[in-house]
Subunit: 344 residues, 2 copies
C-alpha cells in the first residue's frame, strides 16, 4: 500500500508507523469510530465495527500504547512489586499473574524491592508515573509513605501473600496460623524442644514466628534459646550451616521448624552427612513446599502455600477492580496445607 504510506509521510515528524487513521481509511470510517469499534466501547453499528476489525487485522494493526496512555490518562500496565527475584516463591507468583493479565491485554511491569521498604516506596513513585491501571503489592513491606502514595494515586490495588482487615483488598493466607499449625503438629508428635530457624527476616517470617511462639507458649514449651533468626539470604547452604550449629549448641533439640524449604533441604543434607537420623532423632519441618521437597531423603514435611493460586486470584480480583466492580469479600484467604511426609 505505497500510496497510503506515502500520503502519511508528508508531515515532517511522521514515524512511518501504521496508525488508527490507516485502519479507519481502509474501513471507510472516521478514526473515532475506528477507535470505538476496536475498543468495543460506545455504540457502533455492528457492520461498521466488523469492517474496522477486519481492516485492523488485515493491516496487522497494533495500537500505540503511548498514545493511548497519553490520551486516556491510563495505561494498560499493571505494576507488580515483589520482594525478590531469586526466590522461587515469587517466581511462581509472577508467572501466574502474567498468565491472567497478559491475555486480558495488560502489560506486567515487575519491580524488585529487595525486601527493602525504602526501595519499594521509590519504585512505587516512579512506576506510578506510568499511570498503571492497577497495582499488586505486598502490604507488610510498605512504609507509611508508600501506603499514602498508593491511596492517593487512586489506582486500584491488591495486597499479596497475607491478610488484613482494614477494608483493603488482600489475597493471601494467615502466616501466623500456618506457624501455629506447624508447632502444634510437632507437639502432637511428642516433640518437646522445638526450634524455629529463619533467614531473610521479612514480615511474613515474623508472623510465622509469632504463631510458633504462641503455640509453644500455650503449651509451656517456649524456649527463646531455640529461636535462630538471621537476616542472611535464605538458601540450601545456609540451612546446612544453621543445622550444624544448632545441633552442636543444643544437642537436645528434638524438632526444628525451618521458615523456608531451602533451609530445611540443606538441613536434611547436613543431617545425612552428620548421620543424624531424621525424624527419629530430630524432626524437621519446612515451609512453602518448594521443588524437591517431596523427593529429598527423607521426604520433607512442610506447609504448602498456594503461590500460583495467589497470583491468579489477585490478578483476577484486580481485573474486576479495574473495571469498577466491587468485591464481595475483600480479603480472600487461599489457605495453606500441612503436608505430612517423612521428616516429621
Amino acid at each position: 500500500m505505497p500510496e497510503t504510506s506515502g500520503a502519511r509521510r508528508r508531515a515532517s515528524r511522521s514515524t512511518g508507523r501504521l496508525t488508527l487513521r490507516d485502519v479507519a481509511e481502509r474501513a471507510g470510517v472516521s478514526p473515532i469510530t475506528a477507535s470505538r469499534a476496536l475498543r468495543g466501547v460506545g455504540r457502533v453499528d455492528p457492520q461498521l465495527a466488523q469492517r474496522v476489525r477486519e481492516a485492523a487485522r488485515a493491516l496487522n494493526y497494533v495500537p500505540d500504547p503511548a498514545a493511548r496512555a497519553l490520551a486516556s490518562a491510563r495505561s494498560r500496565v499493571v505494576v507488580l512489586l515483589v520482594p525478590s527475584l531469586s526466590n522461587q516463591v515469587f517466581m511462581e507468583l509472577i508467572e501466574a499473574v502474567h498468565e491472567v493479565l497478559e491475555p486480558a491485554g495488560y502489560q506486567v511491569l515487575i519491580g524488585n524491592t529487595r525486601y527493602d521498604p525504602g526501595v519499594q516506596e521509590r519504585l512505587l513513585h516512579q512506576y506510578l508515573s506510568h499511570r498503571p491501571s492497577g497495582l499488586l503489592l505486598t502490604r507488610s513491606d510498605q512504609t507509611d509513605g508508600a501506603r499514602a502514595l498508593t491511596n492517593l494515586s487512586g489506582v486500584p490495588y491488591v495486597y499479596l501473600m497475607d491478610l488484613g482487615h482494614d477494608g483493603a483488598h488482600y489475597v493471601g493466607l494467615s502466616q501466623q496460623a500456618a506457624g501455629r499449625c506447624v508447632a502444634e503438629h510437632l507437639m502432637a508428635g511428642g516433640r518437646r524442644r522445638i526450634a524455629f530457624v529463619a533467614a531473610q527476616l521479612d514480615t511474613r517470617t515474623r508472623q510465622r514466628e509469632a504463631g510458633y511462639r504462641e503455640a509453644l507458649t500455650a503449651a509451656g514449651l517456649y524456649d527463646p534459646d531455640l529461636s535462630v533468626l538471621t537476616p542472611e539470604r535464605s538458601s540450601i547452604g545456609l540451612g546446612a550451616q544453621l543445622m550444624r550449629r544448632l545441633v552442636s549448641r543444643r544437642p537436645d533439640v528434638d524438632a526444628i521448624f525451618f521458615n523456608n524449604d531451602d533451609l530445611a533441604q540443606g538441613a536434611l543434607l547436613e543431617a545425612l552427612r552428620l548421620r543424624i537420623r531424621v525424624p527419629d532423632q530430630v524432626a524437621i519441618v519446612g515451609f512453602n513446599d518448594l521443588e524437591g521437597s517431596e523427593h529429598v531423603v527423607p521426604r520433607l514435611t512442610t506447609v504448602r502455600t498456594p503461590r500460583a493460586e495467589i497470583g491468579r486470584q489477585s490478578a483476577t480480583m484486580l481485573l474486576a477492580l479495574m473495571q469498577g466492580d466491587r468485591i464481595a469479600r475483600p480479603a480472600l484467604d487461599v489457605g495453606f496445607e500441612l503436608v505430612i511426609r517423612e521428616s516429621a
Copy 2:
C-alpha cells in the same frame, strides 16, 4: 502550590498531573529548555540547567513516559524475552539485567515465550508496539518471521545464552563445547558407557547433545541407546524417574550426563534410595550449577554457566548499542567452567 495547580486545571481534560510546564515555570524558563536541561542534551546554560534540576527535585517531578515515548518515537523500555519464568537459570538472568538497566533509567518488559517460537514471534510483534529502545532475545528460539521482525524494527538487540558468527550481537557461551567437555571428562575418568539425559528439548539442549555425541563418536563410544530425550519439563522429580528407568533398562551404564542440575539432583536422590553408589558405580554430571548442587550427597560435579554475567554483559552491551556505539567484539563468549566435585 494551589495557584499553579488551579491555573493548570482550566482545560477540561487536565489530569491534575505535575507537568514539565510546572517545572519550567518554577525555574523561570520555557518548557523546551527545561526538557533539555532534564535530559542533559543540547546546550543549556549551566546555571539555568541547575535551576531546572532543583525545581524538578523540589516538585518531585517525574516525566510522563507515555508523552515522552509519543513525542520521541522511542520509549525507555527494553524488552526481554525468556523461554521460561520457572527456570532458575532465567530468573538469575532477569535479575542481572534489571540490575544494570533500571539504574540507567530503563524499564524492563519481560515476556515469557514458554519455549515456543510461535509465542516468541507474537510477543515480539506486540511488544514492538511499545517502541522499545532495545531487545534482549534468545536467537536459537526464533522463527524466521521473528528474525525478520527484529531486523526490520531497527531496534538494537542482543542475543543471549549462545553464540553466533553472523555479525549479530551475542553474549553467551558455546553450548556444544560445554557438552563436549563433560563427555571428555567422563571418558578421562575411565567411563565407557556414558548416557545423556535431557528434558525440555530446546536448541541449547540439542547443542550440548551434539557436543556429547561428537566426543563419544570420536572415541568410538557413542551408543544411541544411551540417549534419553524427553520433551517434558525439567524437574527434580523427573530426574529421579529417568534415573530409575535408565538403570533398570541399562544396568551396565557407568556414567550419566544430565542436561540440567535439577535432573541430576533428582537422580542423586534416587540413587540414594536405590543404594546405587555414586560415583563408584555410576558417575553423575549435571549442568548449570544450580542452587543446592554443591550441597547434595555426594556433591554434584557440573558445568557452571555464568547466567548473571550473561545478564550484566548483555545489558551493558545493549546500553552501548542504544547510544549508538559500535561494539568491537559482537560475540562475547563468557565461557563455562567444569566444576569437579564428588559425583564424577
